[in-house]
Symmetry: C2
Subunit: 224 residues, 2 copies
């Protein structure tokens, strides 16, 4: 078994499936669900990066709503306020990936402290975790709200290190987002990149410690 | 005529057409030119944002090459080093939009100092301008290289203000990129967003001073 003193997970796209919203998007706008889910997620990320660079932080719910409004306008979809609220709420009820619970159970049983470090607000993280009945898994739920910048600003990774209570070299950082895995690695965490889509790693001058296809393989690697 | 003391233009996507590379991409990888040009540009921007957030600046040629490598890997295209160099060089020989030269002539004739503020390195900007024989138009060629961060970091807009030699409220900022127009506006420039694709404006808490379809309409607005 590897000797990590803790494991900290990204939430969106790592433990939880951001494209689990596509089905409801498809019901709301038939024929557009997949395109909408893709563009919404892309703009959501862009807006977190741009707002951090401009030093104009707003919380993740607001960014998500802004990205949704852009997406609907770009795709020519009429978005009523009720619908915007209903779609925004989807991000509070994301589904975990199918193997998430079992993988976390195995790590928890091995006595490893587990945490989440997320762009989500405290409220968003708590709701996503509670709505999926995953509260038992985590020792720390860490939000960028405490530092008022989004990933990959170094302040976010410093916050994770501080809250997990051990030096960065003793904490495994797990992310399904190549850019997040890159930044965490450059910061000094050992990193597992969960590469579900078998895509290339972002070319940002970093290499993850290990690459796995999902969280089951990640847990196997930690526990072997 | 508006009373601006100067006009500063974004280069990529404003004066010059970033998708003028699509034709050569199509020759290199038949059937993939448009998809490649789109993803290449998107990753190029992402990498400028991410590297600035991580405080890992490298110059624009390097980011462009990194983005090209990711793009080819993601699209399943085998990229030889010679081809990578040839494709990277395309960004040094971008074509101006068809109306760029005439619009700049009219503004120049009206006695307004003109500048470029670009993510490109000094070398890239000089080559793009020289290769298109546009050197006559500009009083200032300003590169982010001098501050070692990319747009939309406020240091870039400060640099533009300083080099143009007037307060930000007296300089018109022109960009075809909604996020760049947003950041310049939040910084305090009057802003013209050239919206060639008639798309929605980015939802980042800013509104441009004026929106035009191209540089001809921009010059009309300034000179009217």
């Amino acid at each position: 078994m590897k000797s990590f003193r803790g494991i900290v997970f990204d939430l969106y796209g790592t433990l939880y499936d951001v494209h689990s919203v596509a089905g409801i998007c498809e019901q709301a706008f038939p024929g557009k669900g997949a395109a909408m889910s893709q563009l919404w997620r892309q703009k959501q990320l862009e807006y977190t990066w741009l707002r951090t660079l401009m030093d104009k932080y707003v919380n993740f719910e607001t960014v998500t709503d802004d990205a949704l409004r852009f997406t609907c306008a770009a795709l020519g979809l009429m978005l009523e306020d009720d619908m915007a609220r209903a779609l925004g709420d989807l991000y509070l009820r994301l589904e975990p990936h199918p193997e998430t619970a079992e993988a976390l159970h195995r790590l928890k049983d091995a006595g490893i402290p587990l945490g989440i470090i997320s762009n989500g607000s405290h409220k968003s993280i708590a709701q996503v975790v509670n709505n999926s009945s995953m509260g038992w898994a985590f020792d720390e739920l860490i939000s960028v709200e405490d530092v008022q910048v989004f990933k990959p600003h170094p302040k976010v990774y410093e916050l994770a290190e501080r809250r997990m209570g051990h030096g960065r070299d003793q904490i495994l950082f797990v992310s399904g987002n190549g850019w997040d895995a890159s930044a965490a690695s450059l910061f000094g965490f050992p990193v597992c990149w969960t590469n579900r889509n078998l895509g290339p790693f972002d070319v940002l001058g970093a290499t993850p410690t290990v690459v796995t296809e999902d969280l089951t393989a990640m847990a196997d690697w930690v526990l072997e």
